[in-house]
Symmetry: C2
Subunit: 323 residues, 2 copies
Amino acid sequence: MTSKYIPSLELIEPAADGETWAVARLISRAEAGAAEVREAVGRIYKMAGRAHVIGITGVPGSGKSTLVGKLVTHLRRTGQSVAIVAIDPSSPYSGGSILGDRIRMSEHALDPGVYIRSMATRGAVGGMAHAALDVVDILDLAGFDKIIIETVGVGQDEVEIAKASHTTVVVSAPGLGDDIQAIKAGILEIADIHVVSKCDRSDANRTMTDLKTMLKDGIASVLTRDWRPPVVGTSSLTDEGFAELLAALDAHLQALDGEPGRLRRADIAAFRLRKAAETLMLERLRAEGAFGAEGPRVAERRADPYAAASAIVQQFSRETTHV
Amino acid sequence: MTSKYIPSLELIEPAADGETWAVARLISRAEAGAAEVREAVGRIYKMAGRAHVIGITGVPGSGKSTLVGKLVTHLRRTGQSVAIVAIDPSSPYSGGSILGDRIRMSEHALDPGVYIRSMATRGAVGGMAHAALDVVDILDLAGFDKIIIETVGVGQDEVEIAKASHTTVVVSAPGLGDDIQAIKAGILEIADIHVVSKCDRSDANRTMTDLKTMLKDGIASVLTRDWRPPVVGTSSLTDEGFAELLAALDAHLQALDGEPGRLRRADIAAFRLRKAAETLMLERLRAEGAFGAEGPRVAERRADPYAAASAIVQQFSRETTHV
């Protein structure tokens, strides 16, 4: 390991060899949104595509974080390496991260087959940190078998996670309040696999039954054709259900062989491309100070935002043509 | 009231007179993202700007929904009219809405001084339904004194709500789990006013003290200069604290007089403009089928998303110049 600056393109080879220092640097630069790293990320994208990308989401209090820790333990026993990208609803202003992921995952701290990275959303366009998609490719290049994207938020991030993952796991739990159950209903249909955690609790059976009833009423996976999402009960206390969860993950990966997988990968690519285009366009508009001129007129309500935005888009197209 | 189609521009006048049928139609069209309504919304924007826009957010289980209901009751006693826009993390696929807002607010159902509208986020760019900003202006035009934007999600939406509101209220509650408290920490600093709900509970004092201690350590409002966010304890059971909350809302509105208010309105306008520009650009890219050609090459990892996006942005600028 060296401390001198190494251009991102030169980090690709050691990262592909699984060198953690190179992986960590690429990730940091991608997270910072450095323009210098983008060419490297582009090349990495073309080299990647081997890992199984799993989105895990669930309402607060669902025990999702503990579940991920346990899942990692079980995946490791099968010999698979695992990377976790935890999308963290940290402060968009101070940038402070709030989760105790490193503490929670401390049992894996010395295991070179496990890599954990928390990422802040920090007011990123489109909810989920855009850079998370780059980070997934970097970890894929580094050879991790499973890459878990975990969100803590509830809402937009969950939709985006599903759009960027091969398999989406939605975690429910017994005994949550109405407020939380209502939110859960909103994310049910992004699930390829449902997990009911804390199934050592006496009220877990009802949660399982309720969920299965809802699914019987016709909620199939909206993202994987011909796939009926199973409901798996787990207990992080007793280790119950984790073998079944691993089997469900494998079964879904199998189901993605052939046409359904091709469609899903096409959806993910389309999402990735749209994100990249948004990022590039907004970067250029900001760099050109496009919002500065019209902003005050909009603030004083002398111009309306759509007319002003339309003028900006026109201006943008003329300027980029001359470049 | 008539059932024939009335162009949006012709709905402005009756909406400005407070005619609910015209307000409702404009809102529905804005929510549907109809291009026809945009010119009307642009004009409405220039006529609006009188209402006090209040963002109310809080983690699930914080009793925020009940609090909003009570707050409306107390605001109505002062003679002010109130509109509520509830941002609803409903399904992005089926579009189904999940909240029982109409039930919860049923005590206000027959009061013409109260207007309630739930809006789905439905995978909107940037988290919060873009149309919510249009809806606020329509309600402003209709003469509502207070417009409350309420979010149920946790994460990106809360940041966006703060960027679009004059005053942001963050609701905490005693006795929530660590998972939820951690999320709360992430949204603390967007608050202009903190509310600790359920302060009839015996453990509410500790929550109040914890919050005040955190604030003493220097968390000031990041959005309103020279404003120290107060901590208000409320109980929806005993009505305690609502007079204080109303006073805090008034005090913050006063604090926005002059320069701090000018800066805040400039921030809101900049945010609105950026949102409108994003919307217009993505609409045009989609309409032109810009993503269709490069998508398959990205899916097969023969092209990288940044290079492909860059090509799309170039193409976009050439095409718009010829139009």
